[in-house]
Amino acid sequence: MSAPMVEARGVHKSYGGVEVLKGVNLTVVRGEVTCLIGPSGSGKSTLLRCINHLEKHDAGELRVDGDLVGYELRGSKLYERNDKQICAERAQIGMVFQRFNLFQHLTVLDNITVGQIKVKGVDPEAAKAKARQLLARVGLEGKERHYPSQISGGQQQRVAIARALAMEPKLMLFDEPTSALDPELVGEVLDVMRDLAESGMTMIVVTHEMGFAREVANTVYFLDAGVIEESGPPIDVLGSPKSERLQSFLSKVL
């Protein structure tokens, strides 16, 4: 078995004295879907944001694809990576946000091409061709020239997924991708994510959609108050929860 895509060992993170992550251990196997569930404020999003270094973790070891996130070990010293190296790391990790965060001043097509052209240096015509191909994949042909404010929330989130995929990431992070959507629009986004999982993309999904977690996830982690309370295949974690806290959480969300 090859090395895991993401490996966390005792990851800690505090915001101004409040400890949000209190020693998290997590392993994400290549090509698998991992779902993070838990009550709000449990540290799910923070963990996700540490993985692509949007937040700096304070202590512990966090590796993506074998490399330490944000640091380089040379001899016995950890060297903080410079901005350029961190940007290069991030470019290989796609992220989808709860509130889509599409670039409001750019058309749908430009949203998907801007990263390819400016970060990866892809030729503009090739970037456009790839963007059209991805738009077809998420079922949004013909929306190229719309601005984000002119399409629905579900469509915006699918564009956001296409924007992340355009960078050809080795790992995709989803931060509550359907929480800001009207109920009838949730399905179209989950369908795209399901297809993506079937294509073999390694995914970490913070979600409250237990149905999606049960059906698509290989592993489910339950976070509570900054620690992993329970983990394992969805059948076990969601089907026969052991800890009291998970039982009470599931009784509220299901």
Partner: protein
């Protein structure tokens, strides 16, 4: 069409009698003002001539506003040169002010304390002293610094030296003073624009692997422009008028040219009007430009862009027409 059960009924709109009275009063006052603009006043002098053996006298009157003098000087080369200088000062000082302002705003938002403190001090100093004082200061700078030297501080190592009298001509002094002062105001405007852009935009750009400068240039600034442009338009118009202070440091701009002429012919009021009319014309042109610039940067922020004045006029005309049609239709349909 409103109905009462099955039968259509006539709609009587609310009559705003108070508004009509107020509008009438306003109209009368405007008419009075216009009347004074084009009226004659008695001079107290009389001319007499003899008609059919009798002496007839009448009082001489003259135009209150001597519009002929206003327009005689309107396009003289002196006034036009002054106008050109005013425009040069406005454009150059605003350009420098915007560049300075954005730089200071980015510095102010930096995580580096020294940079942000420097930016804060800059704004504090240049916003805290009158622009008129600043102009006089740069005009008299040679009193403090006879020469400008670039070198290593606290040593005798110098790279090159400039004579301040030769650099700080009146025009340069005015330009530097106006630019530095404008930079302080623009930095606050730019900062408010940068802060108005949702943090999620920065996060999304960062997660795509953009560097901080790419995020600023490609994502944050273009969206900040929507917030920055209206107050910047205000600043441009303000600068156009503030540049008249340059006349106090012997730059002959629009107002300077007008006062120069009136110092010779004593036609103070007509020449002030000449200058004012030019300021109004340029302000009008600038306002139109601002409208289209705002429309351009509203891309994506609004589902439908605001109509241009021509489109709005067309819509109003169509609206009034259809109102008349509906009224007649309702009236005709009512029993």
């Amino acid at each position: 069409m409103p109905t009462n059960g099955d039968t259509e009924v006539k709609v009587v709109p609310v009559r705003h009698y108070g508004q009509w009275v107020a509008a009438l009063v306003a109209l009368v006052l405007v008419a009075m003002l216009v009347n004074t603009l084009f009226s004659k006043v008695p001079t107290g002098q009389f001319t007499c001539r003899i008609v059919n053996g009798t002496r007839r006298c009448h009082e001489v009157s003259e135009w209150r506003f001597t519009w002929d003098i206003v327009f005689r000087y309107f396009t003289t080369s002196e006034i036009l040169h002054g106008l050109l200088t005013t425009l040069e000062l406005t454009v150059l000082a605003m350009t420098a002010g915007i560049v300075l302002g954005v730089t200071i705003a980015v510095m102010r938002l930096s995580t580096n304390r020294l940079l942000s403190a420097t930016a804060w001090s800059y704004t504090w100093f240049f916003r805290g002293t009158p622009v008129y004082v600043q102009l006089l200061f740069w005009f008299n700078i040679a009193a403090l610094y006879k020469i400008f030297t670039i070198g290593v501080p606290f040593t005798h190592v110098t790279f090159f030296t400039l004579n301040s009298v030769s650099i700080f001509t009146p025009f340069v002094a005015a330009l530097v003073g106006l630019s530095l002062n404008e930079g302080a105001y623009m930095s606050e405007i730019a900062r408010s624009g940068l802060l108005a852009v949702d943090e999620g935009q920065t996060e999304a750009a960062t997660s795509l692997g953009m560097t901080r400068s790419q995020t600023l240039r490609l994502v944050v600034l273009p969206q900040a422009m929507r917030v920055i442009i209206p107050p910047t338009g205000n600043e441009v118009i303000s600068m156009l008028k503030t540049s008249s202070l340059a006349s106090t440091v012997s730059v002959i701009e629009l107002l300077g040219a007008a006062t120069n002429i009136s110092a010779n012919n004593f036609e103070t009021m007509p020449l002030l009007i000449t200058a004012s009319l030019w300021y109004l014309i340029v302000t009008t042109v600038l306002s139109i430009g601002q409208f289209y610039l705002e429309r351009h940067f509203a891309r994506g922020a609004l589902r439908t862009p605001p109509p241009t004045p021509l489109q709005r006029l067309g819509r109003d005309v169509r609206g009034v027409m259809s109102k008349f049609r509906t009224r007649r239709g309702v009236a005709g349909a009512a029993p």
